[in-house]
């Protein structure tokens, strides 16, 4: 599939789809879930960080994702919503090659990260995972390591030993995760001594220290209280200036607050994918409308 990207697009803050006249480009067919349907010639003018072509995933004989076509724009937040079991997390795990770690799993189709095939024959999965980081639902700082060691573990265990580099990256990651002020005086305490929200921000800092291109978040705030959730959401807004973020969430209000684009999954298929405002105020698909208005799910 050839996606033509418009060149000489001026950089606009927060709205990569605006032309110079401040007219919004139509976001037609950013997504298609029907086999055989070709995307139109006019492509989204924004650079795609991840391109998904005809992705299908199986767990043994059970198919979890059906023929998914998606372009995830760079330096923006894309939310994936849908009821439980619709394949959101499975899809997320395909993006950083964690799906293949499940025994009996299988997938077909192509995923490209900035043009490079993620599942290519000579591609090392660990290198993919360094470029596509992930934060999990349940925060999991390593218990045998201090806060500082937790943040730098991705660097240290990948061969970086230079103390000053580690120190600098650790401070930067903790600043980016909005955790520096809270922990700067006790970086030697074990990672598990923090509160739930702080632990999750520590995990985000740990993921950011490796300087990935894309950050995947699998329901990052679902185990947190509202204040901690709010902090994570503010963090996401800050991070999107430099990172591409894909967030899976059960919480539709969170998706509406945080994201620029929203994809609605149902039973393994992509039903609708569009700008967040459109999905939540004027969805094209009846199923989407039923879901976001709470009629089911």
């Amino acid at each position: 599939m050839n996606v033509t990207v418009a060149t000489a697009q001026p950089k606009r803050e927060g709205n990569p789809l605006m032309t110079e006249n401040n007219q919004s480009l139509p976001l037609t067919h950013l997504a298609s879930s029907k086999p055989g349907e070709t995307p139109p010639g006019d492509a989204p003018a924004t650079k795609a960080a991840l391109e998904v072509d005809n992705l299908c995933c199986w767990f043994g004989l059970h198919q979890a994702v059906y023929e998914l076509n998606l372009r995830i724009p760079a330096k923006a937040v894309t939310a994936i919503i849908g009821p439980s079991g619709c394949g959101k997390s499975t899809f997320l795990r395909c993006l950083n090659r964690m799906h293949e770690l499940v025994r009996g799993s299988r997938l077909s189709g192509q995923i490209r990260l900035f043009g490079e095939d993620v599942y290519g024959p000579r591609v090392d999965a660990t290198l993919v995972r360094r470029r596509v980081g992930m934060v999990f639902q349940k925060s999991n700082p390593f218990p045998t390591m201090s806060i500082a060691e937790n943040v730098t573990v991705g660097l240290r265990l990948n061969g970086i030993r230079n103390r000053s580099v580690l120190e600098e990256r650790m401070q930067r990651a903790l600043h980016m995760a909005a955790l520096w002020d809270e922990v700067k005086d006790h970086l030697d305490r074990p990672g598990t001594s923090l509160s739930g929200g702080q632990q999750q921000r520590l995990c985000i800092a740990r993921a950011l220290a490796v300087q990935p291109d894309v950050l995947l978040m699998d329901e990052p705030a679902s185990a947190l209280d509202p204040i901690a959730t709010m902090k994570i959401e503010e963090l996401i807004q800050e991070l999107k200036k430099n990172y591409t973020i894909v967030i899976v969430t059960h919480n539709m209000q969170q998706a509406a607050r945080c994201s620029d684009y929203t994809a609605f999954f149902y039973l393994g298929r992509l039903i609708e994918y569009d700008r967040t405002e459109k999905v939540f105020t004027n969805p094209s698909n009846k199923q989407t409308e039923d879901y976001v208005t709470g009629r089911f799910g």
């Binding site: 950083n96 964690m98 770690l101 660990t126 290198l127 993919v128 995972r129 360094r130 470029r131 980081g133 992930m134 934060v135 999990f136 349940k138 999991n140 390593f142 218990p143 045998t144 573990v153 991705g154 265990l157 990948n158 995990c203 740990r206 993921a207 490796v210």
Partner: protein, 261 residues
Amino acid sequence: MNTTSLYHTWRKVKNLSMSVLSFGCAVVVIAPLALVLFYLIKAGASSIDWRFLTQLPKPVGEVGGGMANAIAGTLTLLGLASLIGVPVGVRGGVYLSEYGGERANWWIRFGADVLNGVPSIVWGIVAYALVVVPMKGFSAYAGGVALGFMMIPLIIRTTEEVLLLVPNGYREAALALGIPRWKIILRIVIKTALKGIVTGVLLAVARIAGETAPLLFTAFGNRFWTHHLKDPVAALPLQIFTYAISPYDDWHRQAGRGRWF
């Protein structure tokens, strides 16, 4: 008295009688252990002294002497056995919990459990065939091999159990950081489970430290200092056994001290 309070009283009675019964069973279980310990302490405590710990056994008939060579021998054998048992056992445990196919792992676990139940004298025979016969003599090596082989299935199982207790979330988090799998296992999973692994190793060492049968025809025993690992070596359990079944009173006393130690 209405029915509720009667029922309540009956529940209290049941609760109390069950607690007493459980406590009684616990006492019955602990009692033999306590009695054995008490006997050992009484028989040996009065006579443990410096000479016992540093002297060699005296010739038959003479009073006195000690078990220094046996103590040193036991330590030597434990060291040799650990050199064999710990690396193989821990690696085996790691393989079972982190790698391996389901069927293969089932068979390995089954084999390890069967081997755990093998009488210790059989391990002695194995070591006899593998080490004593080719070397044409008894040696510390043979004793170490026998004890080491005994340690392996024990450590495999305990290591595997402890590694399985490490939550999968840590492995996933580390994978998501792009760390290679072997590094995750070494630096994160094993590090997290280290206390448990060490406990398992110590338990295995404690178990084999008291084994006599496998040493009967491998290490064989020695009434003098062992200067080379390829020579027969004395071990505490062996020495105690030899002394205890002997007709000499002095040797019986020595055996008592050995048991205490």
